[in-house]
């Protein structure tokens, strides 16, 4: 295959995890960034553009963080391959910037020596020099430069113009030449440790300097009793915010969708084109974009917790619990992300270097209740669960049911992980070895850039697969048109109606009628589409905005309580959306695991619905 490579010089940022590399990348490139994947692997590839003093543009690549050039995860392999010039479709960088954490020089220097040996032109960026100075570690860049035989500049990625020394270094022509071979440095890794030790000794940097502030915070956050309590409180606040803060912007988006639908309806004459625009596109896409506020809020908290250094502590606290079902604390972060959407969660599993842990995490990620399932829950709960206060007015029955549904997903995931551990092949030893970085104040700029990238990924999905499926569903539900004089809603005569009646045979034992069965089909594309599909199927004249509001009373009349509960149970385990299956296929490199995931989730959902439906019927619901 031919890969076209853009013109211009390429600079790659290399560094240990948590060295402030991405913050430096953001500082250098600002908003001129492109996020994609490396060819053939799903490792996130961040490229940005940098304008040099002479006006020339260069491309800047933010390589995944690594401790050494011996890769132990797919992320780290990309870094090694790109630097060696082996990566598919990637040009070998013209210059490597080794980002070195000044507060952790020893480990960083090992990587610098390895990169230097590759013979690639190299500049060392001494990052977080301000923080090191505050801890009493003063590093002389000139002295370090003499030791390494490489240019060394100080950077403070979290400060405006904290990158000026590095920018200036890019303008020096000699810096783009490969480093000279020198006898003072070892030519294999065996000697690296001794060399680093001597360098640090000569620079008088070989004493342990504890970071007291971080240790003081850890005394609370990792306290055996206070720590878990604090974690529970943090998670509770995050979920509270996801639901309450999102209310207003979601209302605004719904109102805007309704206004747009009305405006378009008023300007076009009735016909297939107006129907496609209003019933198909505006209602369908509006129904999905309405979740954007919740996704933004959830990712905001995840980014802040990640940047501050708290997330690895949460993983530390949960390692014991996760270990009891055969996972490690490292699985916590991917699973937390899955509450927003399983796709970023599945992608985040790449940071787990044990292949088995990674696979199990990917397989149970779809059981975390993603935000796309919320509208379905919201519709059914408001239609069937009475508004009633319980526990002396402190709790609300509807909220309690929602909490129960979330818990059912988590417990289901733990149970599945336990079953895989119990009956899986062989006993494996799992690795933790996770860095607990020092606490930082998250910077507004980095959080905003991170959020912007998540929003764009979501919007691209809306513009891609969801758009196509919305139009497809509109077509299937509108054609063929009913013969003249036919009775009942038009959809009963359409392709969708026919398909729904076939599916109803399969779903009748768990209490689903044909309307639900047909709505489940587009729900595979994106679960949130179920609500707008039910709206379409029930042949409402309403537009997407008030579909849920109008649909509520209709289904409350036409469905039994047992059917509603059965559908809720179905969505706890619901076979995940196609985009999730596609993500699993990409991450596991084949059809085996997406098929297994689809199969076991379908079986679990059917079983849960069957039990719920039959129990509810027996109890007279």
């Amino acid at each position: 295959m031919l890969h076209l490579q853009p013109m211009g010089r390429l600079i790659a940022l290399v560094g240990n995890p948590n060295c402030g590399k991405t913050a430096l990348f953001n500082r250098l490139t600002g908003s001129r960034q492109k996020v994609a994947n490396y060819a053939g692997v799903t490792v996130e590839r961040k490229e940005g553009q940098l304008v040099l003093a002479d006006g020339k543009k260069v491309r800047l690549l933010d390589l995944p963080g690594t401790y050494s050039l011996h890769p132990r995860s797919p992320d780290e392999r990309v870094t090694c391959d790109v630097l060696a010039g082996r990566a598919l479709g990637e040009k070998r960088p013209d210059l490597a910037v080794c980002v070195v954490d000044a507060t952790n020089l020893r480990r960083s220097l090992h990587l610098v020596l390895s990169v230097r040996r590759l013979g690639i032109p190299c500049i060392v960026a001494l990052n977080m020099a301000d923080m090191a100075a505050r801890r009493g570690v003063r590093i002389d860049p000139a002295a370090l430069s003499r030791e390494l035989g490489l240019p060394v500049v100080s950077t403070v990625a979290v400060q405006a113009s904290g990158d000026s020394a590095l920018r200036a270094a890019f303008d020096v022509a000699e810096h783009w030449l490969p480093p000279n071979r020198t006898d003072a440095l070892p030519d294999n890794e065996e000697g690296d440790h001794e060399t680093v030790r001597q360098i640090l000794q000569r620079l008088q940097l070989d004493q342990i300097v504890p970071h007291l502030a971080s240790d003081r915070i850890d005394r609370i956050t990792l306290h055996p009793v206070l720590g878990p309590t604090l974690l529970a409180l943090v998670l509770f606040l995050v979920f509270q915010a996801v639901f309450s803060w999102a209310e207003m912007p979601m209302g605004a988006i719904e109102a805007a969708t309704a206004w747009l639908a009305e405006a378009v309806s008023g300007r076009l004459s009735a016909g297939w084109f107006r129907s496609l625009l209003v019933d198909g596109l505006i209602a369908g896409l509006g129904g999905v974009i309405v979740f954007l506020p919740q996704i933004v809020i959830l990712f905001f908290f995840i980014l802040v917790l990640e940047e501050s250094g708290y997330l690895p502590r949460a993983a530390f606290l949960l390692d014991r619990l996760m270990g009891s079902v055969g996972l490690s604390g490292r699985s916590f972060i991917p699973l937390l992300s899955s509450f927003a959407c399983a796709i970023p969660g599945i992608m985040a599993a790449r940071t787990i270097n044990n292949p088995r842990d990674r696979l199990v995490t990917i397989m149970i990620a779809p059981l975390m209740t993603c935000s796309a399932r919320l509208p379905v829950y919201a519709l059914l709960i408001s239609a069937f669960i009475p508004m009633r206060e319980v526990a002396g007015g402190y709790l609300q029955l509807q909220g309690l049911v929602l909490f129960g549904l979330y818990m059912a997903g988590i417990l289901g995931a733990l149970a599945v992980a336990w079953v895989i551990k119990r009956f899986g092949s062989g006993q494996q030893t799992r690795t933790l070895m996770m860095e607990l970085p020092t606490y930082h104040w998250p910077t507004v700029r980095n959080v905003l850039i991170g959020l912007w990238q998540r929003v764009m990924i979501f919007m691209r999905r809306v513009g891609g697969i969801i758009l196509v499926l919305t139009v497809a569903l509109w077509f299937l539900s509108s054609y063929p048109v009913p013969p003249a004089g036919a009775e009942g809603p038009a959809i009963e005569h359409s392709f969708a109606g026919t398909l729904g009646r076939w599916l109803a045979v399969v779903f009748a034992p768990i209490g689903f009628n044909w309307q639900i069965s047909i709505a489940l089909v587009p729900g595979m594309a994106a679960r949130e589409v179920l609500v707008s599909s039910l709206g379409t199927v029930y042949a409402l004249s309403a537009t997407g905005d008030d579909t849920a509001a109008v649909l509520g009373p209709i289904i409350a009349q036409s469905w039994s309580m047992a059917t509603a509960l059965s559908l809720l149970a179905w969505f706890v385990f619901a076979p995940q959306c196609l985009a999730t299956l596609a993500a699993i296929k990409r991450e596991t490199g084949g059809w085996r695991y997406p098929l297994i995931a689809a199969g076991y989730l379908f079986a679990l959902a059917y079983l849960a619905s069957f039990i719920t439906y039959r129990t509810a019927l027996a109890l007279g619901a």
Partner: protein, 90 residues
Amino acid sequence: MKDNVEVGLHQVPIGYPMTVRSVVESSEAPEWAGWLREIGFYPGERVVLMNRGFLGGDPLMVRIGMSTFALRAAEAACVRVVATQPGLQP
């Protein structure tokens, strides 16, 4: 703790300065030794056990050089340490 007695890092008391003697291969996970070296566990390095997980068990919080890592007891057991003697350079 007696000086000069080599023990596994998982057995040391909290807050006691130790020096790494060696990193040994674990029979169940031979790859750990290399990974531990990568994150900074080399002979001569100073290391302190900072904290233990819930009820004094897994995982352990370990300070090596200037970084902090969460290690399982089984992982920490690969790191053989002795008490650091004041004033003595490794």
